[in-house]
Symmetry: C2
Subunit: 250 residues, 2 copies
């Protein structure tokens, strides 16, 4: 019987800049009596990764540009927040109706270039996305593998909106130890038909599954997914970014 | 400890038009020794729903229009397949580089208006999306609740692509017995900040989680998700469709 377990990791303390996030995860696993096993996927939410890496900006130190002031006055946003968003953006995809959809330097397309004010702490501090979420995932994975000996995958997740559909869902912004996409190219269905859908973004599906236990208000920043036979290989989240020349919605 | 289980339901036989899908699910649950419990989410893939509801078209009976022939000649597609896609479309969102992204009569935006040739059977038969996937979900739910007494939710899932990101993921196209979106409007993070992200499309995340056990080649068209405290209420998948006036990507 196929069964996948999505286990919330409790007891990860409040993360601060410079903290050893992998160490905090190992300690929490230990307290929960959980041992990592070969084939586990450890999903870590972006916010704690950004905090541990010191990807924080105090808005009181930010001088908004004329453009940021202009946008802010039209949208009612904090001009210093807009300024940070612009600094994190490689390209503005849409700027309308109070929403700013930007392409980040990593190539992700998301609201406010991933700059976020929630769950950071009191005051006027915002978080940025990790500088290189794939590297963050690889570093956490290296530490967890070294400490436990288990051959695991690590995903850094964030919540992105999407066109046409309401609500946000979790996606993978960093991946290590697995391929993020399961390819059915060349596969046939039980009738011998070639499959229409040839690539499934399983890293995004794993990130979404993890959100079921990490939630926004649960204080659970890490999930362990057990029992899923993910595609093995050296992958990263850049593989999930559609190249510009094949993107109909740039 | 928060834990969500995603259980693949095996032993659902090949579904044919007119089959009692709820009855097949109940029989498979029984064979697998699984009893539905209050709070379970039963995720059923679109393909078996469409088959049971007879939403099949034999392409040999389809006369392509001049427009369908024109598109087909430019894209190398089967003109009869294109014709069926056009009949299922309320609006073409993008038609470029061999891809046809359409808005269906339900309001979903997806490739080929959900018309699919895979996993149907030999010959030239394609499936259409269910006429009313929310009604399909409600009908299956009514039957499962009546037979088991368990207060459950039902999701009909399909695999959709998305802009900017590679690969497809499962989303909810039909929902019954739950609210598809968890709202954090008015909620504050542990620091008293209002949450930036106020609505999470949990029905889509549940659909994605289910795909981890239903897969494309696994012959498992149904998943049971156990242990997730979904938002209670009378919801449907139409709530997941962003109204045109708030959609920046029409």
């Amino acid at each position: 019987m196929g069964e996948v377990r999505v286990i919330g990791l409790e007891g990860v303390p409040e993360v601060r800049p410079g903290d050893d996030l992998a160490g905090l995860i190992l300690a929490a696993l230990n307290r929960q009596g959980l041992q990592l096993q070969d084939g586990d996927v450890v999903v870590v939410t972006q916010k704690v990764v950004s905090k541990a890496e010191g990807r924080l900006v105090d808005l009181t130190t930010v001088e908004p540009s004329a453009f940021a002031l202009n946008i802010a006055s039209r949208t009612g946003k904090d001009p210093r927040h807009v300024e940070v968003v612009l600094r994190e953006s490689a390209r503005i995809v849409r700027m309308d109706r109070g929403v700013l959809i930007a392409e980040t330097r990593h190539g992700f397309v998301c609201a406010n270039a991933g700059v976020d004010a929630s769950n950071v702490g009191p005051g006027s501090v915002v978080t940025l996305l990790p500088e290189d979420p794939d590297r963050s995932a690889a570093q956490i994975r290296d530490r967890l593998v070294a400490a436990t000996g288990a051959d695991i995958a690590v995903i850094i997740s964030d919540t992105f909106g999407r066109p046409w559909r309401e609500g946000i869902t979790n996606v993978a912004i960093g991946v290590a130890g697995m391929l993020p996409i399961r390819s059915y190219v060349g596969c046939q269905d039980p009738y011998g038909y070639s499959l229409r859908v040839s690539n499934v973004a399983v890293a995004d599906e794993l990130a979404s599954a993890a959100e079921l236990v990490t939630g926004k208000l649960l204080g659970v920043p890490v999930a362990i997914i057990r029992g899923y036979d993910y595609p093995r290989g050296h992958g990263n989240a850049r593989m999930l970014i559609r190249p510009a020349e094949r993107d109909l919605f740039r």
